[in-house]
């Protein structure tokens, strides 16, 4: 713990070093965002009349609201699937030898090493009417007619979960790795079974990782334009595609800007809920 003057020196030094990045953000992030917001405050596509018309339109339009709702729901579903499937893998990672750890981390990271487009087309091949799953099930005689997997909410959730899985597993591995393995033994020697140990010790102590993982997965899932569009097809509409249609196809830039701002605020709201939970759980953190 430094003295006050020393820490002030360190801070000013750090600010100077951060300046290039700050400038970069100012020009390429803050400025466009301000422009976006400014654009969204116009009632007509030509941008001549000021007003909150675009926001009123969105918030009173059942279709727009349903797109927003289904996008947020999609994020929640993908996050839940990633958490439920990812936690055991992260848990396993902490309990196997170094060789298996390398294999697990390679498998976990593999989705990040391939292109999003390639991965998404792979899912189309897997989930399609004549795809691997349907072909297998039919040849085994389990189903007669192909299941509709592609272009469904289920298909989108599965494909997104696979793509975003590393974002969940990596923070979980870190959080679980910080837990003293003696705590498991202590809990066990005090008479607790595996489930009690998990719910009373492992899960509470891994909460910071759970929350970090959920935040990342959620934010990535709801903005995943390519996977949503390709696996969801034309029948399912989520915010990124809706936004794209309004901007590129319909050239309605003010409405597209308003969608962006509303989407941004919705995501920020969810993320801030996660961060608040994270701050509350940090009480457990260091020991």
């Amino acid at each position: 713990m430094g003295t006050a003057p020393a820490s002030r020196d360190v801070t000013s030094y750090g600010m100077g070093l951060a300046a290039p990045l700050a400038l970069f953000f100012l020009f390429f992030f803050v400025a466009p965002l301000v422009q976006l917001f400014w654009l969204s405050l116009h009632n007509d596509t030509a941008g001549l009349h000021w007003g909150l018309g675009q926001y009123i339109h969105f918030l009173t339009d059942p279709f727009s609201l349903s797109v927003l709702g289904s996008t947020l729901l999609l994020g929640a579903e993908v996050t839940a699937v990633c958490l439920v499937l990812g936690f055991p893998i992260a848990w396993l990672y902490q309990r196997v030898g170094p060789r298996l750890q390398t294999i697990i981390i390679l498998i976990v990271l593999l989705p990040l090493l391939t292109s999003v487009v390639v991965r998404t087309f792979a899912w189309i091949v897997i989930l399609g009417r004549q795809g691997i799953i349907n072909a297998t099930l039919q040849s085994l005689g389990i189903i007669d007619t192909p299941l509709k997997l592609l272009y469904t909410q289920f298909g989108v959730v599965i494909a997104l979960a696979q793509v975003q899985m590393p974002l969940m597993i990596l923070p979980l591995i870190t959080a679980l790795g910080r837990i003293d393995s003696n705590l498991d033994d202590a809990s066990c020697s005090l008479g607790a079974g595996s489930w009690r140990t998990f719910f009373r010790v492992v899960l509470p102590l891994s909460l910071p990782g759970v929350i970090a993982g959920c935040t990342l997965t959620y934010a990535a899932a709801i903005t995943a334009f390519i996977t949503q569009s390709l696996v969801g097809g034309g029948q399912m509409l989520f915010m990124p595609m809706y936004l794209y249609q309004q901007a590129s196809t319909l050239q309605n830039w003010p409405f597209a800007s308003a969608i962006s701002i509303i989407f941004l605020l919705a995501v920020l709201a969810v993320v801030s809920v996660f961060t608040t939970l994270g701050r509350l759980s940090r009480g457990y953190g260091g020991a």
Binding site: L183, D185, A186, L205, Y284, G285, A287
Partner: protein
């Protein structure tokens, strides 16, 4: 689920554990521990003492042998059914639970109601002299306090055996003594059979009723502290417990109780054969503790040259180089004006008594 019972016996019956790699962790360990005893498992790191502790606790399933607590063979019971209390070296308190929740953890696992849990944890916190800390988190406590909480938590389940894994290693010297006294007091009060794993011989000798000395997975000696210190059965025990000068020599004559040995350093001395009768003419290693050597004026004993003298408060240790070039330490009590020895002074040394020199057959 085990009922409250203090002071059950513990038998380690021919326990052998082999790592998956094939290496032996512990080999044919036999310990017969009476109810209410304090036993120290003493040995250098890597000697298998922690493995043995984890076998008794049930975290490791031994390759061969049995663990018997009271009248029950517990080999098939998982750790959470053995009712063995453990205090870990780093205490392993649950960082997210309050002190009273930590202490009551084992009671909650047993489905005991909240009111009883609270009463019990308060009683135990009073027992370890921390009654006002109930609502704090572990990280708000000092090391010694955390250790007391760890003890209270282990005792809360009324274990039949209490295992302490290097319990005092993380404490500074003054606190360590306080906690050693505290643990001994709690053990007396509860009468619980206690096993302390330690590499600190002073700790083992001062706390335990009996000490089991382990080396490289084997039990070297299991006896009272004075047995282990004064009548070591192996060369390892003699050199590991306390300090000892090792002097090579040849047996001149020997019977069951005494042996005449010609030291390479040049002198014939009488020593105690530690492992039974020695063969005449055989090579031996004689162990003599620094405090069991004396300076002699006449021609008895062996000659040497003083190298360095270290005044260590109550004693003075002199380092002497003998005729065969090996170094020997001799420690003298500091009574009044101890004769100052200059570096390079020629002296003669001899053991205080024949029973204080232990002869072991030399191993190649």
């Amino acid at each position: 689920m085990a009922e409250p019972q203090g002071g059950r016996s513990l038998v380690v019956d021919a326990v052998t554990h082999r790592y998956p790699s094939g290496a032996l962790a512990v080999e044919n360990i036999n310990l017969d521990i009476k109810g209410g005893e304090i036993i120290a498992l003493l040995g250098p790191s890597g000697c298998g003492k922690t493995t043995l502790l984890r076998i008794i606790a049930g975290f490791i399933a031994q390759t061969q042998g049995r663990i018997i607590i009271g009248d029950d063979i517990v080999d098939t019971l998982p750790p959470n059914r053995r009712a063995v209390g453990i205090v870990f070296q780093n205490y392993a308190l649950f960082p997210h639970l309050s002190i009273s929740e930590n202490v009551a953890y084992g009671l909650a696992a047993r489905g005991i109601d909240r009111a009883t849990r609270q009463r019990e944890s308060q009683r135990l916190l009073e027992l370890v002299q921390l009654p006002t800390m109930a609502e704090r988190l572990p990280r708000q406590l000092s090391g010694g306090q955390q250790q007391r909480v760890a003890l209270a938590r282990a005792l809360a389940i009324k274990p039949s055996i209490l295992l302490l894994d290097e319990p005092f290693a993380a404490l500074d010297k003054n606190l360590r003594l306080d906690m050693q006294i505290e643990v001994k007091r709690l053990q007396r009060v509860s009468g619980i059979t206690t096993l302390i794993v330690t590499h600190d011989q002073e700790e083992a000798l001062s706390m335990a009723d009996r000490v089991a000395v382990l080396s490289q997975g084997k039990l070297e000696q299991f006896g009272t502290p004075s047995d282990v210190y004064d009548r070591p059965q192996t060369l390892f025990v003699n050199t590991f417990v306390g300090s000892s000068n090792r002097m090579p020599g040849v047996v001149v004559s020997a019977d069951r109780t005494a042996a005449k040995i010609r030291l390479d350093a040049g002198a014939e001395i009488i020593a105690r054969p530690a492992t039974g009768t020695l063969t005449e003419g055989g090579r031996v290693t004689v162990c003599i503790r620094p405090e069991h050597l004396q300076f002699v004026g006449d021609e008895t004993g062996f000659a040497g040259v003083v190298g360095m003298s270290l005044p260590l408060g109550a004693t003075v240790v002199h380092e002497v180089t003998t005729a065969d070039g090996s170094g020997v330490k001799i420690s003298q009590a500091r009574i009044g004006e101890t004769r100052a020895l200059e570096s390079g002074a020629a002296v003669r040394l001899a053991p205080l008594a024949p029973s204080l020199a232990n002869a072991f057959p030399a191993t190649l």
